[in-house]
Amino acid sequence: MRTRPPAPEDFRSRLRSAAVTSRVGLWLAVAFGVCFVTGLVSHYAQLPQQPVRFPASPAWGYRVTQGLHVISGTAAVPLLLVKLWSVYPRLFLRPSRRVRAVLVELAERASIGVLVASAVFLLASGLANMTAWYPWDFSFRSTHYALAWVAIGALVLHVAVKLPRIRQALGSDIDDDRLDRPSATEPGVLSRRGLLRTTWLAAGVAMVATAGNSVGWLRDVSVLAVRSSDGPQGLPVTKSARAAGVLETATSPAYRLSVEHAGRNRALTLAELQALPQTTETLPIACVEGWSENAEWTGVRLRTLLDLVGAPTGATVSFESLQESGPFRTSALPASFADDDRTLVALQVNGEGLALDHGYPARLIAPNRPGVRQTKWLSRVVVG
């Protein structure tokens, strides 16, 4: 029995080659790139004040970007595992003897450590968050966002450091062994091509098995999807009326929706809301957790309500929920959405009065918005 820790020379499979690492790494970088950009879109869409207006069209835009976010994050799991497997021997590299070289090695190790730690963190916390499982004390939203910058920064640095090697590996035949460690000569049970195909298969299976949340026609084969996309009135629910603590206030006969602008105030009962002109729009509801679903919403155009208090166009409108606490109790709707004719204070969905869990008596529904900002159980609409 050996007692010393393993050394890179102990890993003899020729599958652990830069030829494999660079090809898997390329797709991993694509997956992380898609996750990063779509994540930025999602955070920007939630800003109350947007320097550049987030567009209200196409209505399905956020549905697509957030669907891509969770699908590419899911596909990144097998890619990351295979990539780390292919470079695992490097974990056991012995440090150099020269001081200058040691410093360079330490810096590289630290940057790789940051990359691996943040990448694993993003994938693990994202997968858990999708299932409403929060086994941590930090704020998911701000930590996931901050570490996305850390991960993408470490990834860009890693590419900059490795660029010549990446180009050489991608430019040569997959079975070329010029870039291999001298000890990596043992044939594996798979060929290098076989391992790559297996990796693509794993990423594909992971995507198909979970994507039914956001891709409707995959619903029946996505056996591992967090939601089957069903729920009251054919729509899933992220936060229930019980969890929001609105069971009594939402069903109370004293319910009023207060619309306010510059000292003018109208308090409307549900019957009064129902008596206003009703419009029906087909709009998706798309949750940050990745699920999305189209629905037919019927209610009062937001503009109709704003006209009751003489509010001008071009103003940000804030929405308040009956919910007494929680980060999503209120939502600021930028003017580009508030002025859009498709934006409704919905009273019905799919032809029935809203279920309590969908925001009875009235909820906001606007095109191309993160679901978490489509305030449910509306109590106040305040202009300016």
């Binding site: 570490l147 900059a160 098995a209 056996v223 069903d230 729509l235």
Partner: protein, 142 residues
Amino acid sequence: MTTARWSLGLVGVAAGLYGSWLLLSRQSGDQLVSAAGWLVGGVVLHDFVLAPVVLVAVAVAGRLAPRPVRAPAAVLLVVIGSVTLVAVPVLGAFGRRADNASLLDRDYWTGWLVLVGVLVVLVAVGSLVQRWRRGDGADPGR
């Protein structure tokens, strides 16, 4: 390094520093400790638990498994292993709540078993077809 690589590297460092500042400036000490635990825990779990377990499993299977099943077994290990890791939160259903029937509303263990069954059959058939085509029976994964 060329200028282009240096610039790319600097962009990376700048993005990483911005992220670190975001991380450190917006949360309390307790929250940061929890995040640090997850950051370190992920690396430790991968490098010193998952990776060694896979190494040992592959070494043992490499000795015990008959030659023809090694390649399909390796394919299944990668696919089923990584998909199962993705599925941990749904298989455990740790987020399930009595007040929300639309969340985690499938029978995930049955779904997982069906998926594993389908993959085993597909990979077995695929590897038989491949061997039959080559007609020699050697190195089915190539």
